[in-house]
Subunit: 511 residues, 2 copies
């Protein structure tokens, strides 16, 4: 946590110059008002008709799309990311809002169950109806590296609003002007739809974020960021008198393994794909492949050095992140078992927070011997190539790797490597296993999983991307023997919301 | 946590005399072996065919049923609970094992998703297949009050084994002989089925339980017990270098509200039902109704005093629990705003750990003014009758009540009380809302929910009873672009496990 501040100033990472006017930190009194408004809005929003929430999500998506050029231009100034990428990210973000509208329309996410009474059961069974209801006001900590998709109206917000939870987003200080603008656009949409202002708000300031997390009105929290920051906030959430779920995505090393057959058949292609993936967004993807396991005698080093070396320096998100990256790779470079493959020191502008890609090399034995140094995530365009002698050597190193969002395998048809054994290890290590591809570029889809064992996420049981991300903001409630007219509308016998239901254990389609 | 001990001795709560020989505490070396065995068994058991796990659950259920008389007799000696109840509880427990076999056969719990590739999406979408996989070795802390249903082969164990997680159960010291016997029966079943011994084991000793919870091989934990004990263990789980989910059911006050119309129409019947519910199992149910809200002028006090007073003293589970109960109701009786309605001091045997039911009375105003004293759960046969003047008075008191497993309403057809407003509050307060019934007797069913906001459970997002309890032990894994033959069997295109699937977002029935 940084020291208290009274305003958040955006800095252009390309030039180091200020962008726009400082955004004032939310005051304690303002926060109290926003928390009260969120709590007041919870019951009506939480029991709103599906159409209320789909209309909100579609309207938010439309507003983002309408303002894409303006938003992407401001994001470029504040984040230093390329304009084309940012334009695409707006589309991804509006698409994500629309996916959750589809999730609402489908209704399966509510997990409706209806059991008939069975007086002969042990113990006797009354009539039961169960579904999921919104947890209540949710606090989202925005990330720096996706100023749209993991920020103010990103996936956490979209899924929480879809679930019927009021949302307070703590803006990331790296793009305060954009956060303020997107928040204002969203609040205007709420007003146009006659929804209470308390359904959505944005706060600024690290201290305010921590205070909000401690507030008893907040019922769950989401976070995407560093392991240190995430651990701090996880501990705050767990340490409350009444703890709440804290769904954090922290750090991930994302190992990629190339079999001998794949290295022989597609060495240059793999080198090019790897270099593109590890440097995408200046290496500031949570799914950046940080470890590339190659078989001894792979013959790919020259291609890798060339591919990584050909990627120009680019601005990192801010000076603090650039400083941490510099420190990280400097310590990696000093490690006895590590050598530098691609220099990455050339043509880095002095102003702003630019960094050049760097590739290092070590052995699987070294990784197994010192995983604390050699399996750490360096947020930025640096990765470690790891040479393994055989499957046992590879497995010993992978056994030392912590939980990860992704794990990747490159293999060939008819590969004689023990892929079943390798995949058996990787599925335990990671939440997404990729074959002959690269982990960056997380599809917003029904089947996506973006999560993994600690420290990839604080709860490997849930995803922060994809349709099922909505499950994080829901809690089951069971109604026993309620007269039909007293049940929540969606649970009534006539099924007015046309929900798929499990009736006495048997799944029935929506009528 | 109690001081370290080298053996656990059962005591008959009826007589205060020892039962059987002391059960030795698990040694640190034994625990290390059991943890290693569980970790070794995780991969094979976690990827086992559904039939392997249904066969295990059915065999465990059959073994319990075969040995019911012997098991119930031993449980009666160690727990002091009535034999008929314990016989029924064995049936409930074997039924619970069979329910989870049904859950496996249904397959919907795996949440299979399959998305086709869509290169035109933003970002481009590869082929994705997602389902839930077991979290890994699970640690279960058994409860004292249900020596079968929430103990060695209870719902936590049944759901975790169904999910494919190896289970280590930390036995409750109140019924060590029974825990040892049930553990031996279960281990024999594993051996008969040629399953690794590491799939299931039982440990004894509080210190060993905490050590196991700290062990990195344990991936999730379940607990049913006191708020103090649960909070301690929750903090241990959250404080690990790599925290794990801790699904604890702690304390619950279970408010019940009677409307003026219901009190007028069915006062005596409600009094009788309440007295039976609050004294069931000597008040040692986590769903015991601890607060009974009655309208001013209810005219039910005499009937309540008579009904509660007519319930004989019965042994509590052990002397420690009896001592805490005595202390709790003594402090309640001393409270300025509280008076005693039913004396409950008569005919309590001197030996053993017997207690007589007690009923106290206060006002909604007093509850709202001092919730810390007046909404505490007293584990045992004591409850507090709370008189309210009007709906506002009732709501002010309910607003001061912490999260609860259940909330109950008694009302009449055409009741002019604002039931919608009342239910709106109760659904936020509790995980199960009951109409014209009582909360004790938790049906083992698809639609059951046994959970609620803190302190009812550590995670209101999950249940510990009913089909969906299995979700606690699972984590999503997504496979991207894997050749069909490298996918886990259940995810392959031919759907050999006949699982219901969501294909490109559309639910499809099992083929």
């Amino acid at each position: 946590m940084t020291a208290p501040q009274t305003a958040v100033q955006a800095v252009n990472p390309r030039s180091g110059e200020s962008v726009g006017r400082p955004v004032p930190e939310t005051t304690a009194a303002q926060l109290a008002g926003l928390l009260a408004a969120a709590a007041d809005a919870a019951a009506a929003f939480g029991t709103s008709e599906p159409g209320t929430r789909t209309a909100l999500l579609h309207a938010l998506a439309a507003r983002l799309d309408e303002r894409t050029d303006e938003l992407a231009a401001l994001a470029e100034q504040e984040s230093g990311l390329p304009l084309t990428r940012l334009t695409g990210e707006v589309a991804r973000t509006s698409g994500q809002l629309r996916l959750f509208a589809e999730v609402i329309e489908d209704g399966g996410y509510l997990e409706v169950h209806a059991d008939s009474a069975d007086p002969g059961a042990v113990p006797p069974q009354p009539e039961l109806r169960r579904w999921l209801e919104p947890a209540g006001p949710v606090l989202i900590f925005a990330a720096s590296n996706f100023p749209f998709a993991f920020s103010i109206l990103g996936g956490d917000t979209a899924s929480a609003l879809a679930s019927g939870c009021p949302v307070i987003v703590k803006a990331h200080p790296a793009h305060p002007g954009l956060s303020k603008l997107v928040g204002e656009l969203a609040s205007a949409v709420l007003a146009e739809l006659d929804l209470p202002a308390g359904v959505f708000s944005v706060i600024f300031g690290d201290e305010r974020g921590v205070e909000a997390l401690r507030d008893p009105r907040i019922q769950a929290a989401g976070f995407t960021g560093s392991t240190a920051g995430g651990r701090f906030l996880f501990d705050v959430a767990a340490g409350r008198p009444a703890p709440i779920p804290f769904y954090g995505e922290l750090g991930s090393i994302n190992p990629a393994v190339v079999t001998p057959a794949a290295a022989a058949a597609r060495g240059e292609q793999i080198a090019a794909g790897f270099a593109a993936s590890m440097t995408l967004g200046t290496g500031q993807f949570c799914t950046k492949p940080g470890l590339l396991f190659l078989p001894a005698g792979h013959g790919m080093e020259q291609a890798l050095a060339a591919a990584v070396g050909a990627v120009a320096a680019a601005p990192m998100l801010n000076a603090r992140i650039r400083g941490q990256f510099d420190g990280g790779i400097a310590s990696l470079a000093r490690h006895d078992g590590v050598r530098r493959v691609s220099n990455g020191d050339a043509a880095v502008p002095a102003n702003g927070s630019w960094a050049a890609p760097a590739l290092f090399a070590t052995t699987a034995q070294a990784v197994a011997a010192d995983p604390a140094s050699l399996t750490r995530e360096y947020f930025g365009p640096a990765s470690l190539m790891v040479e393994y002698r055989d499957a046992a050597d590879l497995h010993a190193a992978l056994a030392a790797v912590e939980g990860s969002l992704t794990a990747t395998v490159h293999a060939e048809p008819g590969d004689d490597f023990d892929l079943a054994g390798l995949l058996g290890r990787l599925r335990v290590l990671a939440g997404r296993v990729i074959y002959n591809g690269w982990p960056t570029g997380v599809a917003v889809a029904w089947a996506m999983n973006h999560g993994g064992p600690w420290p990839a996420t604080t709860s490997a049981a849930h995803t922060s991307v994809g349709a099922t991300a909505i499950r994080r903001w829901l809690r089951p409630v069971c109604y026993q023997s309620l007269p039909d007219e007293l049940l929540p509308a969606g649970l009534r016998a006539a099924n007015p919301w046309h929900l798929p239901r499990r009736v006495n254990g048997v799944l029935t389609e929506a009528e």
